[in-house]
Amino acid sequence: MTFSAIIGAWVAAGLTLFILSFLYRDNPLFKVAENLYVGVSAGYWFTVYAYDVWVPKVWLPLSAGLLWPILPALLGITMLFRLHPKYAWVSRMSFAYMIGYGAGMSIPVTMTSQFMKQVSSTIQPLVAMSGASVDFSGAALFSIFSALVLMIGLLCTLLYFFFSAEHTGVLKVTSKMAVYFLMIYFGAAYGITVMGRFALLYGRFAELYTYSSGIYFYATPILLLFVIGFMIKFKGKKHDEPPLTEQV
């Protein structure tokens, strides 16, 4: 084990436990981890943007004498005018550019992927054929039943979003059906997500367990004791205020 890996294990285990301490209650250790996280992520994403966008798309082309990055860079700079209230309007140019692009581009793409593809795959024949005669086997009837459920579900749920009329009469029946379909959907989506989240939690715990071994100088148990001790002491204090440079 290299020295940097051992230090790393201590840092990682400590930060993991600091974040987990939030489950008990908000406390200074969580605040430390939270602010460090916000800071580090700001720096991390700065680096990502600098070396994925700024260097290859602006700096290198300009230094190589290519002029095309000038227009987008100028538009980007107008963004910074936001900081000055009097000239804030200059930033509208880049917003108009971005928003126009986003809106214009999304119309046909949404039409394809969210409208046409969804509608067309719902249209299925409500009959199955085997050769020239109608297929009445159990499997065929079941697939027709499924197609029918799919279609009715889609139509009812679509009508649920109908805004121009109150949900009365026929719409009352369909929207009642729609709510059932929506509930099944929500339940299924909820249930499916559980596995992935538990796998993540297991990953964190397994790592903590790894760091608890002798080659890492028992990082996890020592840090865990520290966190628990801190929480007990912190709770013992009358004020729930965080102690770090706090004004009393």
């Binding site: 840092v11 990682a12 930060l15 993991t16 460090l36 916000v38 800071g39 580090v40 992520s41 720096g43 991390y44 700065f46 680096t47 943007y49 994925d52 798309k57 602006v58 538009l75 980007g76 963004m79 900081l83 804030a88 309007w89 509208r92 880049s94 108009a96 550019y97 126009g100 692009y101 214009g104 581009m105 999304s106 119309i107 046909p108 793409v109 039409m111 969804q118 795959s121 499924s146 459920v149 749920t157 679509l158 059932y180 379909f181 509930m183 099944i184 959907y185 929500f186 299924a188 909820y190 249930g191 559980v194 989240r197 993540l200 939690l201 964190r204 790592e207 205020e241 965080p242 004004q247």
Partner: protein
């Protein structure tokens, strides 16, 4: 001045909007080129927007430190984190590995950034459990349907659950995996599709309003 403050942005929005709309239908080389160029431009503008966010975050926290407001030490910590990210990143030129050794940036990513990110994400598992306990109670037929489906999926996704189901109910309808599969491909899909179709209509309507300049709140201010 009104031309610059109002007409010009609306005109830019309209022209870029219409061109981006038509781009989808035109397979010509120039049209592809246009899409590439615009994409690059968006990335570059986004970089400056990110700088704006960074400045805004720094200014807010600098203010906290200057005023010595409550918990200003945390703001110092935030700057420490930011410095770690930026300095290690620039020193390593954004590479995790250089000459087959992990750079300080790579170390920061592995031992600071990803544990923090992973743990925050993993906390979701706890919330899923507590939410299930609190919210999944049969208050109505609808709520019952929701948690019944959720329960089926929670049971049916793990091997011991499938085993348990087959011990009790047998393997009719393909066992619990067959049943969940059907729910996923039929009623669930129907609701999901309807939501998507509705969203597509709403989204297209909003886009049209923006391109033609009816929706111009993003400009902010009337002057």
């Amino acid at each position: 001045m009104n031309i610059f403050k109002k007409t010009l942005p609306l005109a830019i929005c309209f022209v870029i909007g219409v061109l981006s709309f038509l781009q989808y239908y035109c397979p010509h080389h120039l049209s592809d080129e246009f899409a590439d160029v615009l994409n690059d431009h968006m990335n570059i503008i986004y970089f400056f927007a990110y700088m704006l966010g960074l400045i805004s975050l720094s200014m807010a926290n600098w203010g906290t430190i200057k005023r010595k407001a409550d918990g200003w030490g945390y703001s110092v910590l935030l700057f420490v984190g930011m410095a770690i990210g930026i300095i290690s990143g620039i020193a390593a030129k954004g590479e995790f590995i250089a000459n087959n050794h992990m750079t300080a940036y790579g170390w920061m990513y592995t031992y600071i950034y990803s544990p923090l990110q992973g743990t925050m994400f993993a906390i979701l598992a706890f919330y899923l459990v507590s939410c299930s306990y609190r919210a999944f109670r049969v208050k109505s037929k609808e709520a019952g349907l929701l948690f019944l489906t959720a329960g089926l999926f929670i049971l049916g996704r793990i091997p011991p659950g499938q085993w348990l189901w087959s011990q009790i109910f047998g393997t009719a309808c393909g066992g619990i995996s067959g049943i969940t599969e059907w729910i996923l491909n039929c009623p669930t899909l129907a609701a999901r599709r309807a939501i998507m179709v509705g969203i597509s209509l709403g989204s297209i309507a909003t886009s049209v309003k923006i391109v033609v300049g009816i929706e111009r709140q993003y400009l902010g201010g009337t002057d």
